[in-house]
Symmetry: D2
Subunit: 349 residues, 4 copies
Amino acid sequence: MADKEERKELLSRPIKQLDLDNTITVLDLVKAFGNTSIQARNLGRCFEIYEDMIADEDRPTIILGLSGPLIAAGLRKVIRDMIHNGIVDVVVSTGAIMYQDFYQGRGFKHYVGSPDMDDRMLRNLLIDRIYDTLVDEEKFEETDRMIAKIVGSLKPGNYSSRQILSLLGESIDDENSILHTAYKHGVPIFAPALNDSSIGIGLTLYYENHKNKERITLDSIKDNHEFLHIVLNSKKTAAILVGGGVPKNWVNDAVVMANYAYQKEIEGHSYAFQITTASPADGGLSGSTLEEAQSWGKIWQKATKATAYVEASVALPLIVGAVLQGGVPTGRKKINFVWTDDSVEVKYV
Amino acid sequence: MADKEERKELLSRPIKQLDLDNTITVLDLVKAFGNTSIQARNLGRCFEIYEDMIADEDRPTIILGLSGPLIAAGLRKVIRDMIHNGIVDVVVSTGAIMYQDFYQGRGFKHYVGSPDMDDRMLRNLLIDRIYDTLVDEEKFEETDRMIAKIVGSLKPGNYSSRQILSLLGESIDDENSILHTAYKHGVPIFAPALNDSSIGIGLTLYYENHKNKERITLDSIKDNHEFLHIVLNSKKTAAILVGGGVPKNWVNDAVVMANYAYQKEIEGHSYAFQITTASPADGGLSGSTLEEAQSWGKIWQKATKATAYVEASVALPLIVGAVLQGGVPTGRKKINFVWTDDSVEVKYV
Amino acid sequence: MADKEERKELLSRPIKQLDLDNTITVLDLVKAFGNTSIQARNLGRCFEIYEDMIADEDRPTIILGLSGPLIAAGLRKVIRDMIHNGIVDVVVSTGAIMYQDFYQGRGFKHYVGSPDMDDRMLRNLLIDRIYDTLVDEEKFEETDRMIAKIVGSLKPGNYSSRQILSLLGESIDDENSILHTAYKHGVPIFAPALNDSSIGIGLTLYYENHKNKERITLDSIKDNHEFLHIVLNSKKTAAILVGGGVPKNWVNDAVVMANYAYQKEIEGHSYAFQITTASPADGGLSGSTLEEAQSWGKIWQKATKATAYVEASVALPLIVGAVLQGGVPTGRKKINFVWTDDSVEVKYV
Amino acid sequence: MADKEERKELLSRPIKQLDLDNTITVLDLVKAFGNTSIQARNLGRCFEIYEDMIADEDRPTIILGLSGPLIAAGLRKVIRDMIHNGIVDVVVSTGAIMYQDFYQGRGFKHYVGSPDMDDRMLRNLLIDRIYDTLVDEEKFEETDRMIAKIVGSLKPGNYSSRQILSLLGESIDDENSILHTAYKHGVPIFAPALNDSSIGIGLTLYYENHKNKERITLDSIKDNHEFLHIVLNSKKTAAILVGGGVPKNWVNDAVVMANYAYQKEIEGHSYAFQITTASPADGGLSGSTLEEAQSWGKIWQKATKATAYVEASVALPLIVGAVLQGGVPTGRKKINFVWTDDSVEVKYV
């Protein structure tokens, strides 16, 4: 008897077969995905969660974790648009993504290649390959040296990656740049492993020239400090995780740091969705589920969450395209971060 | 010197960063994907190849291989639309896909579930799970018995899966059905491993009741025979492979059969694209590259080809949606298959 | 309070760090794997389950499902040894695996190649590639024609794949052959999609030469019939699934067929382990979990089961090597299948 | 004619079917793998390359990159044994691996769990899940605070991760510890993203208590500086990459840094093998091929290299077990690193 009702309940929400006749726009498609299955449904769920993040009147701080070949993938302006439209408040990235944004900001390009090119021939031609995309190593080296020069303008002291990246964003004049747009809007960008990137190479060139001199440090615990105070002082947080690696782990770890350092009991992220191609089966961080993060308290036990196993060059334009076509609610507050020596104020304006 | 030119040549086609401001429709998006990288570019390539298949004045026979939980995934009408719009001429499928089309054609449904449900509880409730989707086992059993009954109307003899599936398509009256639409348009559907499916279960129920009687056989070499003559008598062939398994292998093997049986030197498919999530690294058929198929002569050495590593519930609506929004050329010929005892005529009308 | 005990209970079985000093043999290693984590633990679990299958006094019928490039992978003798040592009672395979066993049985070979060879060049040389392995297409064609000739010796009638494969096993004289060893031991081998393989090509060559004559059919529902009676008449069943595709699905479907056809309530497999690299995330059969199969009743609700996400060329020798080093219990009964027209007797001798 | 010879050449090295009768030890198995195909062959190749690294009379500096849940996976002693036996000279790791080594070094444990546990329940019990493994959050917090205390003993200044990890290794007394064994043998361990780990949390706890005081910094560019001089001053380098992420990227980037900073033309790694489950298809660093790294000059154009797509808990014990069973050549030189303010001397003793 009870079984009959449970059965009825479980068989109550039918899949709707996707109807291309009524699927004209990106928004139509992503909405329709939500009523289908497998990864299309997951993409639809990510979209719905993103809309919930934006509509939440508690104004969660939306943190975007970025990893993978996203500039090569053609997502530079998509990410820039997320910042420009105020649907991202904090960015946590690999250094490589921000480096390649900067490289493009200086007028250099990514080119169409193929995964099965002869890499030894490319080496001879000073062309570097990123899967199916090519970059110009001569311009890379030039850019690395430019970074060394730019950071040389800083007065000696300890800097977080946020401060270095803000300086780089300030130094270029490109409306389509992620770094520049974030700089303009006061959106902080962290690269907690900035040393492991071509920006890190630039910083190392600087270092090698300042070995016995007063110099700047990339003080990577300062990153932790700054980010933990953002989390501590936000009403709520929401996480969007594109790819795995350090950005994913670090976006989630902040809650633990905040709680341990200040004996608080901050709940983890209230919303979270991730876009990944990594399988959970190797037990690694990149493929780890959002449920696993709940056991650690990094994501709230009652959080709304979804994972889409779809490569980001396809998934991100679908989700962000649908959100922007759907429209950001008018009157939604903006978050301003006011940095002090010890902490950061989170202002809703 | 030569190097300089080669370098210039290799660095000549820049990636275009995707611009959501100019990306309103599904067609806009998929076109833009073609100028980006990673799997988005591959999706864009699949679309371009599909357009080439359709525009080719030699009117290639377009063969669609289907495998995976495509009806659960909400792709029933998308596949039906491909047949209805004449952009597919022959379908090669798993039995499960056609069974689930038939199950829906009888008015039954797929329901929203989740991959982490308690499967032992579902067993007790007679609910069957397909990843994140549920079906009603009572209706499945009912449908299996119906199939046994329908094939019981055939007179004893040897049948190909095409003939069985055509009979099933004829028996339902549902505009949105793949089987029914194919039946109406004379598009043959093969399921070379039809025994391995719930349709196979239906046929087995029939078999067990006819053990010592005259009966029909599912003569699976007849499938090979029929399909080989389609390939043999087509001007050209093109393959669209959604998922791996038997359909993928069989769509490609026909060329070899045709050549061995009739001492011909038919080239393999002139166009091919595949949508898969299987990695080549396990050496299996499902993840095998189209290049590997070229070594066997199954795909023409000079074929236009692409592979998108994107799950089908997302990839297929994007590609087919874009093709249909782009429009099928007017005046394009239709292929009619005229079945004779020994062979099949391929008529362009 | 209750929580404290639950906590203690959950934190009661420590991981044992693998100690290479005490890990000399394959058996040592696989046993040690069982006390570690991630896929090593799963491999260890598969081994333990295999030992349980063999030790079970109810003498379960052990069914081995095979898919993937296993002969190319060098597993021919490993599989042959499973049959020879009586730790497999029934084999369900793709046609390709049995074909390649037969090809080797006729003295032909697989050769070391590489995944990034020039496939168009290979085509010109009549060399076929299987991932990183090469075969001789001239010998393939010769073997296909030999198969056509061998089946030509059969008198007209309807045959299951088991009967065809038994005939092929009889025709070669090679102690290391899977087909030949199975033939000698009376172990049935099914290839439910035999038409989709080079054996199928051989059968098609035969078909094309007998179009208007009396001929044999590959009666693929007869496969279902035969296999269902094995399952129906076994005390218990156990499934070992190497790879996905038709063999995996069909090994599991038999229970459903048996129940529907004879209104029985046979439980699904009492033991099951699978070796796969397919992820569940695309919703397909190949990556589907054994839990999902429980919702369908294909695997018993209380079955012992495990899945190792490790490619078979590595996983199978580890598991089988450990089982054989551990030793098969003496006095263990053998299963004899006695085939009748309508059914099959399962004798424990 | 030429073709005939090319054909003969290509079909000259047959696969040897694995024979379990002659495969008793781990060494037997891994050697036999080298004559098979698919990932078994790749594992065999990794083993052969490791033997070449060790036998090379130019005494390459062997750098081990580590990422993934390796302590949970039971590989702690395997990695410790690599250091103890002198077959690794430098370790580059995630912070998490070294943290979990330290946690175990303080007497705490990892426990057997399962990937489908109820994570919200685990949260309530203060148990943290790593895929199928559990750790004790109370002991984690205790360990984090201990780390804060230990680094508190350092005098203010700028430290590399190597210096912090050496301090932690010194502080525990556990023969089976990676950190402790490396400390004893003078093997440097870098964690270039040490801030992103529980060690980073410990350092952050320290930071929050020293905000306006003189304090230590984790000077992450100092890591780059130190590692670049190791590479610069080594005769040759060899890379073993277990997993992806920052360790993989950073191990490879050092060559670029060294060349840019000192206008040298150091060749990339002379040997490299990687163990990974990440597919190249998402274009990300973790799945990127060693060929791709050659286009960047990070791996030498003529390097000996291999990639095994096998999860590390299975692959690493096979490879290292076989190498140790095979025996390290007697008289092989040891590398001593002598650290100076500006650089590091590489001594062969």
